[in-house]
């Protein structure tokens, strides 16, 4: 065992730990193997510029435990039972939901970016959009609950715990805000793609739409030529029906256009709403724009200096006062003595 060398030569204690010493070499390998499996995660440490001393620490603990006859070992297990407060549980749950929703949003982004004309998974996209919207709403409510919980616990907690909880709530809110702005941009991309698709569809389907009417016109003329004598009425009817078909087509396209514009308006209003949300968020984020760790320390030092000067001033005045008081007292005592001497 390595004996502890508290006051030994400094050179051997400081500096790099260059491998376990000879006496411990037999102990370390059998200990390290099971420890390595259970504790050290399979991380590639070859590119890291730091050294893991955890296994060494564990081995030292074990050896010290062995020295203390293992009395403490049994007690160690129950005290490590993790008591998590409900705040932490809720925050963890919200975090998990957030990450799930982020994954869904990523899928949605991939889907919405597809620009192919025919393989348009409109149903899926709509479903996903609906799901993501619901998720965002529920997350919003959950975060509001969490904030309420934090505020109600305000008086009971220490100031560090309070800061900690507030920071968690703020970070969750900011994550949600960034997610909703991502969602908004995905929706924008989607509407753009829809518009493009519509315009291309119209280009392609204009000619086939006109072709059948052409064909029907031709056939009508053939029919007319063939059955000009007998089927006048039916031909007339056919012509009119084709006209009506065209009229109906026009009406449909007109209605479609209207529907498009309504969609546009709706999306624009949604955009505006989210813009306002962004603005509100920016105002909130002004709290912590660029700060540094040592800002607080220097502030307090400045305040302490000012307070010190104030106290000094007060002390001066008080001590000055005291001098006068002492002088007065002395004079009184002298007079007292004089009186006593005279009387006695």
């Amino acid at each position: 065992m390595n004996t502890r060398r508290r006051h030994g030569p400094r050179g051997s204690q400081e500096g790099v730990y260059t491998g376990p010493s000879q006496t411990q070499s037999q102990l370390v390998p059998p200990l390290e193997a099971p420890l390595a499996v259970s504790l050290v995660p399979p991380v590639d440490t070859s590119t890291m510029s730091c050294r893991d001393r955890t296994s060494e620490f564990q081995s030292v603990c074990k050896s010290l435990q062995g020295r203390q006859n293992g009395e403490q070992a049994i007690k160690s297990v129950p005290s490590v039972v993790k008591q998590r407060s409900d705040f932490t549980l809720m925050a963890k749950r919200i975090g998990r939901d957030l990450s799930n929703t982020f994954a869904k949003l990523e899928k949605l982004t991939i889907l919405a970016k597809r620009k192919s004309l025919f393989d348009d998974k409109a149903v899926e996209i709509d479903e996903l959009t609906y799901i993501v919207k619901q998720d965002i709403n529920s997350l919003n409510k959950q975060i509001a609950e969490l904030q309420h919980l934090v505020r109600s616990r305000n008086s009971h907690t220490s100031r560090h715990l309070h800061t900690h909880s507030n920071t968690i709530v703020v970070s969750l809110q900011s994550k949600l805000a960034s997610m909703s702005s991502d969602f908004k941009s995905v929706l924008e991309v989607r509407t753009e793609n829809l518009k493009q698709q519509r315009s291309r569809q119209e280009q392609f389907s204009q000619s086939p739409a006109s072709a059948p009417s052409f064909h029907s016109g031709l056939s009508n003329s053939v029919l007319m030529q063939d059955d000009s004598n007998k089927a006048d009425v039916s031909i007339d009817m056919d012509l009119r029906s084709s006209h009506q078909m065209q009229l109906i087509n026009e009406k449909d396209s007109f209605i479609e256009d209207r529907a498009n514009t309504m969609q546009n308006i709706e999306s624009t209003i949604v955009e505006l709403g989210s813009i306002f949300q962004q603005l509100a968020h920016m105002v909130k984020e002004q709290e912590e724009t660029v700060q540094r760790i040592d800002a607080n320390v220097e502030d307090t030092q400045l305040n302490v200096d000012l307070a010190h000067t104030e106290i000094l001033k007060y002390f001066q005045s008080v001590s000055n006062n005291r001098w006068l008081l002492i002088k007065i007292f002395l004079i009184l005592i002298i007079f007292f003595f004089v009186f006593v001497v005279f009387m006695a």
Binding site: S46, V80, T88, T167, M282, E288, Q291, I293
Partner: protein, 629 residues
Amino acid sequence: MAASIREKQTAALKRMLNFNTPPLKNTTAEPVWKVLIYDRFGQDIISPLLSVKELRDMGITLHLLLHSDRDPIPDVPAIYFVMPTEENIDRICQDLRNQLYESYYLNFISAISRSKLEDIASAALGANAVNQVTKVFDQYLNFITLEDDMFVLCNQNKEQISYHAINKPDIMDTDMEVIMDTIVDSLFCYFVTLGAVPIIRCPRGNAAEMVAVKLDKKLRENLRDARNSLFTGDTMGAGQFSFQRPLFVLADRNLDLATPLHHTWTYQALIHDVLDFHLNRVTLEESLGSETGARPKKKTKKSYDLTAADGFWQKHKGSPFPEVAESVQEELDKYRAQEDEVKRLKSIMGLEGEDEGAISMLSDNTAKLTSAVSSLPELLEKKRLIDLHTNVATAVLDHIKSRKLDVYFEYEEKLMSKSTLDKSLLDIISDPDAGTPEDKMRLFLIFYITAQQPPSEGDLEQYKKALTDAGCDLSPLNYIKQWKAFTKMAAAPASYGNSGVKPMGLFSRVMNTGSQFVMEGVKNLVLKQHNLPVTRILDNLMDMKSNPETDDYRYFDPKMLRGSESSIPRNKNPFQEAIVFVVGGGNYIEYQNLVDYTKAKQGKRVMYGCSELFSAAQFIKQLSQLGQK
């Protein structure tokens, strides 16, 4: 070595904050919240690199000093980033006993010794907290990176390794050992983080040589132990195929004492010289209230951070001051133009709102509004930076005007380049409103250092009388006399190369109406390129030129199996990367000179480091302390 040292250190810190696993890039990971606890050393290391916002992004909700009162937060993991000193270890053991946090991740800035590890282990056992101590790591981050290619050793107890401490005449061997060990430990951490084993060259016969010997030994021991070496796989990882090893030049402050005293003209160096500039943070005193007699003015201190994200700062760090003034004015004009555009947009929006039926117009305007809104944060940030630089530059300009620093600068440049002097030194010294006594002392010391022969006794007495009349303290002069005698024995005093300073007339070109930088009477001086001694030495060594100054330098290669005492370099190719380290202190003038040198030479990268960063005022104080002994 594609990544700069700043990026590497930041990456190492971020990895540490992520429980020492490489951080994941995607946002779908579940957030984990933790608490960061550091001591003053850790604070100095983290502050220039990560802002509070970045810490928040990594999930750190609270950051606290180790030796403060901390309340228990029972269900949060805590990351410690401290130096392995006795007090810190005691405090950690106390924390373990008080069961403050859920789990503990201990990261030590430099390697922790075995006995201290046993202390922690016994405390953990006593508190039944062994399972809570989840990880113990040696981070090897014991240096402060200020710029992409500049680092400093430590800020907290820099008196221990200051120039004064190294050069004082009554220094004991044990003290020297301690100082050397501290410096070597930090340099070792630097090379571990950099991931490369350098070739070391140093001059003979001074503190730099001792540092080089120790560093070589330490690197060699570490490389020898193949199982535990910190350098295996580092150079091969991440596609960094640097077949060439960097050159590490150790210089000693004693070979060039004039540069720290020099008055300067570039932006960053001026800020360091004239204002309170510490770890990339400037503190200005702004006085509010009028100059009424009885009441003292209330002075508030405002501090600004000059960071890597500040584009203006990065561009103009090294430019001469008048250029900076012009550029601030340009930026201000550009910002005003952008602001006007946004305001115009507002009026357009107001008009278009009445137009019905133009739905396409509406969507177009929404797009414009969206872009305007998203560009608002950028505009605000720009405004903040312009304000910052305006304030800083105004403060610097006030100092320049009141102390006539341009006169000093010009004169010193002429002294250092041994060109003809148009005014006599005595005139400047006895001029009552040209600079503080410190400035005059600096000028005189530079004159003394760079003079080929020392001035005659009569002249010296005259100068001394003039200096004492101006209120200077003469003790630095004693020390400089000793130093000069000593270096004369060793080698010829370093020459400073040719430089020319062309004054561009009395009135600067920056005379726009409404400009805040009215530089009347301040000469607009243009710097010509010249090389300081440190740069020259580096140039010789990197290009393997033979030069009487540097031929005598010792050569160390930690990767060679047997250390050789010869100073014949085995490597004949010129180096592409170099690291210059000045033992005894450095400053921004040298750094700027090296940066200019690197820009002139294509394809070479140079990094600058020093054991402490002092301004001329601090250096004079150290010199006077030395001169009084």
